[in-house]
Symmetry: D2
Subunit: 340 residues, 4 copies
Amino acid sequence: MISFTCDYTQGAHPLILERLSQTNFIQEPGYGEDSFCESARARIREAVGLPGADVFFLVGGTQTNSTVIDAMLRGYEGVIAVQTGHIAVHESGAVEFSGHKVITLPAHSGKMCADELQAYLEAFHSDGSKDHMVYPGMVYISYPTEYGTIYSKKEIIDIHNICKKYNIPLFVDGARLGYGLACDKADITLPELAALCEAFYIGGTKVGALCGEAVVFPGGAPAHFFTTVKQHGALLAKGRLLGVQFDVLFTDGLYMKISRNAIDMAMKLKDLFLAKGYEFFIDSPTNQQFPILDKARIEELRDKVAFEIWEPLPDGRFVTRFATSWATTPEYIDTLSNLL
Amino acid sequence: MISFTCDYTQGAHPLILERLSQTNFIQEPGYGEDSFCESARARIREAVGLPGADVFFLVGGTQTNSTVIDAMLRGYEGVIAVQTGHIAVHESGAVEFSGHKVITLPAHSGKMCADELQAYLEAFHSDGSKDHMVYPGMVYISYPTEYGTIYSKKEIIDIHNICKKYNIPLFVDGARLGYGLACDKADITLPELAALCEAFYIGGTKVGALCGEAVVFPGGAPAHFFTTVKQHGALLAKGRLLGVQFDVLFTDGLYMKISRNAIDMAMKLKDLFLAKGYEFFIDSPTNQQFPILDKARIEELRDKVAFEIWEPLPDGRFVTRFATSWATTPEYIDTLSNLL
Amino acid sequence: MISFTCDYTQGAHPLILERLSQTNFIQEPGYGEDSFCESARARIREAVGLPGADVFFLVGGTQTNSTVIDAMLRGYEGVIAVQTGHIAVHESGAVEFSGHKVITLPAHSGKMCADELQAYLEAFHSDGSKDHMVYPGMVYISYPTEYGTIYSKKEIIDIHNICKKYNIPLFVDGARLGYGLACDKADITLPELAALCEAFYIGGTKVGALCGEAVVFPGGAPAHFFTTVKQHGALLAKGRLLGVQFDVLFTDGLYMKISRNAIDMAMKLKDLFLAKGYEFFIDSPTNQQFPILDKARIEELRDKVAFEIWEPLPDGRFVTRFATSWATTPEYIDTLSNLL
Amino acid sequence: MISFTCDYTQGAHPLILERLSQTNFIQEPGYGEDSFCESARARIREAVGLPGADVFFLVGGTQTNSTVIDAMLRGYEGVIAVQTGHIAVHESGAVEFSGHKVITLPAHSGKMCADELQAYLEAFHSDGSKDHMVYPGMVYISYPTEYGTIYSKKEIIDIHNICKKYNIPLFVDGARLGYGLACDKADITLPELAALCEAFYIGGTKVGALCGEAVVFPGGAPAHFFTTVKQHGALLAKGRLLGVQFDVLFTDGLYMKISRNAIDMAMKLKDLFLAKGYEFFIDSPTNQQFPILDKARIEELRDKVAFEIWEPLPDGRFVTRFATSWATTPEYIDTLSNLL
């Protein structure tokens, strides 16, 4: 049986495993102070075009979100996200666990609307009771979003400008960053994105690594961020595991190359569904596709291909999610083609 | 240059890397629901002799400590540890971050004294002001301790009995569990240890894995522990990485075999220092050794061998730490021998 | 100038001040263990018809909400409230500060709809990703609501039944409880309300006391609630201040008598606005009234009477809030009448 | 029966009750924005000699400590206190509840030793593992201490200088501030103390008020401290209750006058015990006295006078605590005299 349930069904890119083996017995310090992390940091700084950026390697997405958000907020502040944002729904309240409210705005195909952000901030700051409310201390967006959609450069610039106006940082969750930047609709580059936010991360877990997220602070990290990482249980003793992986991913453009593979496969998959007359819930340009299937079709497919039931529709049909990844091959698509 | 600075200077046991490669493209569900985790859990249940135990895989030690402790305590409770306990000193306040106090007792070569524990609990419960104090809700000990020492079976039984008397759980930090169980002085087996506590973990990071700690709840996990793990940012998306590693470590007794190697090397190292007339700060039977060196000697060695300066002594000399591991070979010891 | 801005513009009912003076030099233990608290607890148990209920006195509303909620939830749980609920908006994130998410449902004139609660809980428990989400561990409603409206007995029974079905406690914020129970539309008594929830509080601050909220746990308090209260900074050293006040308020039905005064005054005020042709934003039967005023009228009144601007309407007019209280006299209404 | 168990056995100074009655029906805004708070703030600024100081009124001591400490620390920081400090022992872990560790130093008759503080900070900052530890972000001392002792001006200057050197704030818990400043041994004035710390509070609860602590930030409060106070459940709706009390206490030197009464009574009490041949556990110059009594004597006295058993001594006798207060009259001492 083949699976399109998510983009983390398989291990790591073979070059990563190879490099882990090659370097296995080299003795290195722990906690990210090894030479592999150093090299990976240098490559990432180059890729984002910021020689002075601070780069940290954390293990997973939820952990990265809650650690970065807690480090950047003061105790009385919360973080603004859309209602479908990962931190608002699928992180078991990790942000609240660190004491901060997730302030939610409506989601539009998973995206935040700059005008609504502006309206919210304006209303907050003119509210006579604002001192009894949670201060908006940061904006969180995902690129791409949880619905596979991406922001245009203009949309990010608009959000960035509002953040500047209200003097609050913008944090971009890039758990699937490669899949966003590599898609046909993307009109922003990694350096351009980096220039528009105070923090973002380059997702490894979903883009070819066994685990790992590279957090970038374009203008420098919060004071003692290393200690905050440790306090949050997010500091890997053998930091080399993350260093080696990101070093490989950022050598010879591997990260973008394998990201592009996921997009190619996703577009094939999309065409396949469209050709067979299926509708889509959302027009996603990235590796997550949301075809609408009826119950009978789902039952038929269930034993041969794994995918996610996303949500029921009023008409009885279901939104499903099919995700491709760096590891999806044309054979997966062919197999699926024969099943549809 | 060779390094004895810690037991996580190298990657993973080659069998682990091999198995990661072999299984790399097998598609599996995320979050520990894969077949490798399943298999590893079964092997661990067998190794601890508890078919009904709950087993979870987390990524690192600090994370495991704070997640397990927070899951087992109520809000008004704290955890009792010795002053040199890892959670009391070197975890950047991760336990306090989750809202709980670490209540400290004196350390005796890194160990908690059962009588002092009993005295503390008795005093607490007869204190007229106890309702204004943090309730002792759990006992935390390390096996082996941060100073390489181990508890005898009797000592653990004594602590266990006190915990039973006061109806509080005992949690054993086994970040270096193998090195404790494999040493000559150990008089307790893994199943015996498991029968004496409510939670413990089998350290992978320091004993042959790239990362990973296997948490065992002999009598069952706290309700919704999975969600607590996620909330603490401790849930690995590709749980297979942990499953594969523990599956290998608990196949054909590998975990204990490689643990024993560290002990053999540590004993050689100890003999070496003793033969050359060095004193030791503490008589450790495990993989961490604490020879006392003077400043001149430290300076001489510094460029040829890495080790840790542990603490200064009143007489101007220094306690140092030399750690062996699953990966230490006789060649390391020979090289050191030539240097001393 | 007279003020209708809120129901805490004045001190305490004179009988309270009198009793504070009479008892001032009697020596009593601290922390709520005094004879006044004891007496007040007995009177409250009688008033709620539950001889076995646990009663605690806390100082203020936000404090009471966050302390009770934190004490009743496990770490991985959140509390369900409507979007306009006090804990969701005007408590500066006090619930999140204690680590818990406030899960919001739509508000209907400030009230929670039982069907929507049922639908949410059903959807949550059938969601395949629920273990990655915050568990709904409690339902919070206000009686009366932040918009002055009240639930009918049937509505509370419906919510109570859903809570029972899902085995989660119901907590009623009664910061203005007297004003709800005393209004003409109320069809529930204090004992009936007490029988339908696991925790509620009888607001003192807004109903005749200088400060103080009496928390009632009909089926018994969470373990070591006293210590949780202390930990939250909510334990008053001179608990007598709260004991004396609630003892007076629950002697000879004073609490309900002065609550009824606020309602009488509010109804007069409502009639006044209606007679003068004003519209209301919401049909509130309690002490908070929300007449709609245009900008010119607001400007005219501003120097002579204080009230709150609640929110702007799309047509340029404003919802305002006029609150009466236990201390409002007919003279206030007459003065207002002359101004309108 | 008379009681010396603590300094909060009685209500408030009669002038306070009188003023509460006089002002009872004056309408004022809530949350400390009333004219009484305004006036009290002005009087306190004058008393501390700092026209630019920020002054806030909170309700109780534990609440004040945890709110101020949390507001002044960053997430990765802890607060340094002595082992007998109130925050370290008798606040149910309120500081840890807000996520911060209480780092403890030895206590010398309840006091912190400047040299030990210096040594600790020096050791911390030269520790190679400091980034894995809780950062010392603040120093907390009590004046007078929990053992009734006071720091000399020189001792406070020494601690202040160390704080300056390490750039961390000094916070003085003044729950019994008046009793410290009014005692014969005191060589520091309120303005001098204010000039040596970044935050302190003037205790009202134990010095004549029904409740209330006046927090002073000589150099200005942390950003949005009001919101932090609200978030901690420490904001009183009827702030006037605190404003009126501190306004009275700081009119015509009442605070110091009634503080002095407690000292006069304590010295009489001390002389009494000394004259009868009793020993003292500690030589306290303030309102708390710690005579040593044997079991038989305790039993004899128990029905006639209330006091606290502080701790058992190795020889079987007990340290007891007798506290006087603003309300203690010579009659109490005479009664006690007849009993001894």
